[in-house]
Amino acid sequence: MTWTILLPFLFSAAAWPLHRVLRDRVGFVLAALPLGLFMWLAGHLPLPLGQVVAQSAAWVPSLDVHFALRLDGLSITFALLITGIGTLVVLYAQGYLKGDPGLGRFYAYLLAFMGAMLGVVLADDLVLLFVFWELTSVCSYLLIGWYHEKEGARSSALRALVVTGAGGLALLGGVILVGIMHARAGAAGADVWRISALASVDLRGDPLYPAALALVLVGAFTKSAQFPFHFWLPSAMTAPTPVSSYLHSATMVKAGIYLLARLHPALGGTPLWHYAVTIGGAVTMVTAAIAAACQTDLKRMLAFSTVSVLGTLVMLLGPGTDECIRAAVILLVAHAMYKAALFMVAGNIDHETGTRDVHALGGLRRWMPLTAAAGVLAALSNAGAPPMFGFLGKELLYTAKLDLARLGHDLVFVAVLANIFLTAVALVVAVWPFFGPRKKTPKEPHEAPWTMLAGPLLLAVASLFVGLASGPFALSLGQEMASVIAGRDVPLELKLWHGLNPEALTVLGLSAVTLGLGFALFLRLRTWLAPLAALHRRAEATWGPPAIYERALSGLSLAAKGTTALLQTGYLRRYLAIVVLGAAAFVLPSLVRGLPAGARDPGVPPTAVDIALGVLILGGAVSAALSRSRLAALAALGATGLGMSLLFALHSAPDLAITQFLVEALSVILLVLVFWKLPPYRGIRSTPRRLGDLALALAGGAVMALLVLIASRDRVEPVVGRWYSDASVPEAKGRNVVNVILVDFRALDTLGEITVVAVAGVGVVALLRGLARRRPEASRPGGES
């Protein structure tokens, strides 16, 4: 099963070189992979009730994180969608991006996404799931920004990354809290992150439960574009259509739904879950359905209608009844099929006519008969017309809501309202462009190549087929998936005709009302919705979630500019003051608190030489501060440095002494080199500033002095020091403990330090270059620019 995830990544790496060799035929080779995986997965069907395929290997044993995979009814359904639709999308992309020199790179991203998404649905370890989850966000970012030379594509990609990335952070917090709760509830160490073990203990009574649930929900809601985080999805439509079809309707945006479904047995069933999930989903369902009808761009209409269906799915996962879960299962699969098909139809229209504006299209059926057929079939499934798969989904949706005592009766009308709009949208997208009078389009329309027809036609016909013969689907997949979500056996039977009983007739009546009103709305869409559309546009521009996001983003960069202007003045003395002040403010209090405890090391009484050196050091420092010429100040500082290295040498620290001495010497050389370029040496005349500098200097000195005092006091118990000197020769074969620590015991620190040294060196050179470039235009003195 590991190969299921690894192979897409391997193919992803191979995509670019393969494209160099095979040019525009590379899709045929790459499509073989998802097709093969799809067959392999389908070979596991029917998965007998309750049976799973699992495997696990230690990944980060010290944190009990496992590379654990598990194939059950829920994950296999998702994996089949990912690989099945993936096969069609890979083929489709070959036609859509034909001749694009970046096609190899595109496939690399797309297949990496496929691997990551399979990882999300197959992972049986929370941490592993999170890693793959983030990986899908990154792939999505790269794919949305595919036309990266366009400003709009870049900002849409960033928007998606910021929203889903922020949600990812929340999810990480949620995952950790769930792990903590799981351990507290008595899980064995190795099982802390195991998702399949979560439901065996009770996590709902834990005081952390509300926080964990909130964080997980934020993660799921951002990923699955729930209100008010939904706005990244419509703007993600700048991506090439294969991406919209695959990531942003069929698979990635369903990762949030998957997460809710997966965690439902462990975290669901509480009032908090019930209300938060149901209401969040319902609000999304209605607002997005209305917003969808306000659009004129085919892809944006589909995007909002996707958001609406995602809302419906989330809503259905709230109550946790058998009826709701059944409806969610069927709606999820039906939606993945018809919406992917509709996106591909929209892509064909865009590709072959050059426009996606619904008002600029008409009468295309004569030029694009096959695309039209796929579009009409998929739209019928979307509209929930019998005998399509979507009809079954809608029937179950209305049944589920009728059975719900608490919120049910109100919600069923909300659901009907949303679905009226969705029906109208489906008809607008897939019927309007093909019928009516022919309109002039930027490109002369013609039928798409077969690679771009295979996807929508197959998916649309499959929608019809599954609708007519739903029994095998229900038994092999649906029932098993529903049972995994519910955490108990949920029998599932799908029928187009439920006989003549009042409940079935009510549901059928609601379906008919939906279809009828939807069709009426479709005919009058432009006139009826004009005021709503204007309101929606204004909301998006001024006070809606996207406007708030934009304002937050520009606020952030303003704050960054302000802080930079405050701190980065360009004056070295200001930087030094900030560093010293920071050190004093943060370190001094704790040093003072740590000082009085414990006995003080009396140490060795200072000798006459020590005292003489001390006088030299102090005298150097004081005269440097008082001197009125730069050269004198330098000489005085040199005396201080040399005095200190002599002190080191006297007290058996030769390595320190040599280093200090060499650094002093090199500093002097450096100063000599730049001496003539420094600005005139100006003594600070004003008394308040001198006093301020004095206070700053004293604080800085106090920090260092206290640090040294405390360090030497703790030598009363020289455990660490003795350990090093004892272990130095036997373990590291060296008598010079200082060097042994540097290159052996703490070698990793040294590696980090020399990297910093190297980076600092490169930084100095970059600064000098910048200075040299700036100088010709502004003849400011070098030291202050």
């Binding site: 030769p654 390595d655 450096l670 010079n736 052996d744 990793l748 020399i754 200075l771």
Partner: protein, 139 residues
């Protein structure tokens, strides 16, 4: 025009400093010295040479671009740490040859690590000093 005494003295001093820095580098594991100190000292050699003969001459004497030296040094340090991975020990574990090599002493990955540090310090400090000095020479 640079004074004759400075030019002549810098030749001898530079050679002495290079030799002494290598001595310090090799003996560092048992006596005062090591890669960092050796690196600073050898930098001193090139700086002294630059004072006597000019930065361009010192650059020629160094032969390698200081930036390449930084990269090479970091790579040596990193690879010396990786050696332990091949015998199944943790990253950066010191590995030692059993027999001493005449003139160098015991050879180990730790010594290689120190050599890397030496090269990084040489590269970084010469990079900074030469850049500053080039600024100086520029009109």
């Amino acid at each position: 025009v640079r004074p004759l005494i400075l030019r002549t003295a810098s030749d001898f001093l530079a050679v002495l400093l290079v030799v002494y820095s290598i001595f310090l580098l090799l003996r560092g594991h048992n006596d005062p010295g090591g890669g960092f100190i050796g690196g600073l000292l050898v930098t001193g050699a090139f700086v002294v040479y630059a004072l006597g003969h000019g930065v361009a001459a010192a650059r020629r004497l160094l032969r390698a671009d200081p930036r390449s030296l930084i990269g090479i040094g970091l790579a040596v340090v990193f690879l010396s740490g990786c050696a332990a991975l091949f015998v199944g020990r943790p990253f950066l574990t010191g590995l030692w040859l059993d027999h001493a090599v005449p003139g160098i002493g015991k050879v180990s990955t730790v010594l290689l690590f120190d050599v890397g540090v030496y090269v990084v310090v040489l590269g970084t400090v010469t990079l900074i000093l030469f850049s500053v000095a080039d600024e100086e020479d520029a009109p």
